[in-house]
């Protein structure tokens, strides 16, 4: 199977990808977008400042809905990150060659998404300046974290995930930074890329240790990525709240994470390949493969919804049944219908090959999935909590401007980091694509 369009050699591959940085196209558009996201980041800073100054009361959280948008956004962002690791590690081990064209980009997406995600639990602490109490360290209060709490597992899982994703990404990046060093024309570019390329010479020794470690890191990242969202789901499943206390949660969350992450990759990759003329490397066949992944994970997630409903009915517990029915009939029902439309119904169009190759359909459906997955987290967090055991305790939650401000702010932070990434680092893996181009030219 040929994944790269046209006739390419290592020379043309590197010229095209390095060209995105060295002779950047669409400079004006880039500056405009960067300015816009910088404003958004400013808004994020203001939202955090207001939160720190006035306290959690500025959010819409109440009793019983103690987890508002902050936790919704945390789960959503972390989930988006998962596709990057899936593409770079799991598809590498499964020898899916089409991953080569999108892995670098998706890994960057993972890093930035995890950074955005990490903000929320910290801010949610109430007194975020004591966040380091989560870390186990000898202290004069002689206190240690409660290891039986899924929240501390979260802290370990997310920080390990961020570290390992960063190592994996950087290890893959080193040979490409050497390409940038060698292709750059200005002295300062050569110096800076040269510094981060760490003296990479591409000797056979370098490659042999590099490839071995890369493969091993992929083997480590694979169970890690499954563990992270499983642990996130345990934040819910270990509690007794109706709608949360379910053994389906870990696999259901992992499938949902990969689903939302792939949707985000598709949403971002379509403008990227168009703006930087990378259609030779990210072909329609790549989009087709990603659409198939979306279809598969959509069906898995829909199975999760069915299972949730079935378990509620089969349990025979009134609170469980009442919560499940409230999703269809309660105040938050419109949000649940958006969820079903975006996550279960819309992706079904990918059964038709024509839809998988149609850019517009792909873009619309992937955005719908992004929205659908966000509403899924909203339903899980907010609807379940608002409809607790005792009807007397039921209460609704409405996000305030500062809830939305934080969410919009992290979206801006994400795009700000993404824009910097596409401007200064090779968006696709030059060495891996060169290898693939040579192999395909022999076929």
């Amino acid at each position: 199977m040929k994944w790269i369009e046209g006739r390419h050699t290592p020379e043309t591959v590197s010229a095209r990808i390095a060209g995105v940085i060295l002779q950047p196209p669409h400079q004006r558009l880039w500056w405009q977008l960067l300015g816009l996201s910088a404003l958004g980041v400013l808004w994020l800073v203001v939202s955090i400042g207001v939160l720190l100054y006035r306290g959690i009361g500025v959010w819409g959280v109440n009793r019983p809905v103690g987890w508002g948008l902050a936790i919704v956004n945390f789960v959503w962002w972390i989930g988006i990150g998962h596709a990057g690791t899936l593409i770079s590690a799991i598809l590498l081990l499964a020898r899916q060659e089409w991953r080569t064209s999108i892995n670098r980009f998706a890994e960057a997406m993972t890093l930035f998404a995890v950074c955005c995600a990490g903000l929320f639990p910290l801010l949610h602490l109430g007194r975020p300046w004591y966040f380091y109490w989560l870390a186990p360290y000898p202290n004069r209060m002689l206190l240690w974290p409660n290891w039986r709490s899924p929240l501390i597992w979260d802290f370990f899982a997310v920080s390990t995930y961020l570290t390992v994703s960063l190592l994996f990404w950087y290890l893959g990046l080193v040979p490409d930074l050497a390409v940038m060093r060698d292709r750059a024309t200005s002295l300062w570019q050569r110096r800076i890329y040269g510094f981060f390329a760490l003296g990479w010479r591409g000797s056979s020794r370098h490659w042999s240790v590099h490839q071995r470690a890369y493969l091993l890191l992929a083997c480590l990242a694979t169970p890690l990525v499954v563990s992270v969202h499983s642990i996130v789901s345990l934040d819910f499943a270990a509690a007794l709240v109706p709608g949360w206390h379910s053994t389906i949660f870990p696999p259901f969350f992992v499938a949902g994470a990969i689903f939302s992450g792939f949707a985000m990759v598709v949403t971002l990759v379509i403008p990227l390949r168009y703006l930087f003329s990378l259609q030779d490397f990210i072909t329609e066949r790549h989009l087709d493969a990603m659409a198939k992944m979306l279809l598969l994970t959509s069906i898995l997630v829909s199975y999760g919804y069915l299972c949730e409903g079935f378990c509620a009915w089969y349990s025979g517990l009134r609170p469980e049944i009442s919560t499940a029915l409230d999703r269809f009939q309660g105040v938050y029902a419109p949000i649940y219908w958006v969820l079903l439309l975006g996550n279960s119904l819309a992706p079904l169009c990918f059964f038709w090959p024509a839809a998988r190759r149609n850019i517009r359909v792909l873009l619309v459906v992937s955005v719908l999935i992004n929205i659908g997955m966000w509403t899924e987290r909203f339903i899980i967090v907010v609807q379940s909590l608002s409809h607790e055991f005792l009807p007397a305790a039921w209460r609704l939650y409405t996000p305030t401007i500062w809830d939305w401000g934080l969410y919009a702010g992290t979206l801006a932070l994400f795009s700000f980091l993404m824009l910097l990434f596409v401007r200064f680092l090779p968006v696709l893996s030059i060495s891996e694509l060169s290898k693939q181009a040579v192999e395909e030219s022999h076929e």
Binding site: T9, P10, E11, S14, A15, A18, P136, L142, L143, W144, P145, N146, W147, R148, I152, W153, F156, A157, T160, T163, V164, L167, F168, L171, P175, A178, R181, D182, G194, F195, L198, G199, W200, R201, G202, S203, S204, R205, H206, W207, S208, V209, H210, Q211, R212, A213, L216, L217, L220, A221, P223, L224, S227, I231, L234, I430, S431, S434, K435, V438
Partner: protein, 163 residues
């Protein structure tokens, strides 16, 4: 003719691999080969050491996991015994997520560090970088570095760079 090292440049991987084999037949000492992307089996053909760090990374993972588990057990049972939800102090199943994460973290760090330790990096400068032509090694050129007789090296073909 004195023994010196020579740098040869080839346009693609086949010619490089062929030259590696011929260089060894003609009695030249193959020092190293350079390519823009990993070529399977190149390191074996060059005759360099193929180190296997898998066991080291495995051990690092095991000790990370052991440390994580020890931290949880020690602090929950001895340093800060505290009854939570009626569970026993040594409620080991709850310690497993952290055990796993610590194991993965230490193994991944070891894998990352081992690359640079084995490759002799980071290194800001290298004599090869003084060759303007060697800049192509990262994206276009396939280089072979041999030590030995001038005539024999010349025979290998490719673009010849003296060192």
């Amino acid at each position: 003719m004195s023994e010196r090292s020579w740098l040869l440049q080839f346009p693609d991987q086949e010619l490089l691999l062929e030259a590696v084999d011929r260089a060894r037949e003609t009695g030249l000492k193959v020092l190293d080969a350079y390519a823009p992307y990993p070529i399977e089996g190149l390191q074996q053909r060059v005759g360099g050491p193929v180190t296997r760090t898998s066991w080291l990374i495995f051990l690092a993972g095991l000790s990370g996991a052991a440390l994580g588990f020890a931290l949880c057990s020690w602090s929950a049972v001895w340093a800060y015994p505290f009854q939570i939800g009626g569970t026993p102090l040594f409620s080991w199943p709850a310690f497993l997520p952290i055990t796993f994460e610590c194991g993965v973290l230490l193994a991944a760090l070891t894998a990352f560090v081992s690359v640079f330790a084995q490759a002799g990096l980071p290194r800001y400068h290298h004599p090869l970088f003084d060759f303007e032509a060697f800049r192509a090694a990262s994206y276009n050129g396939f280089f072979l570095q041999v030590r030995g007789d001038y005539e024999a090296a010349r025979q290998l073909g490719g673009v010849f760079h003296a060192e």
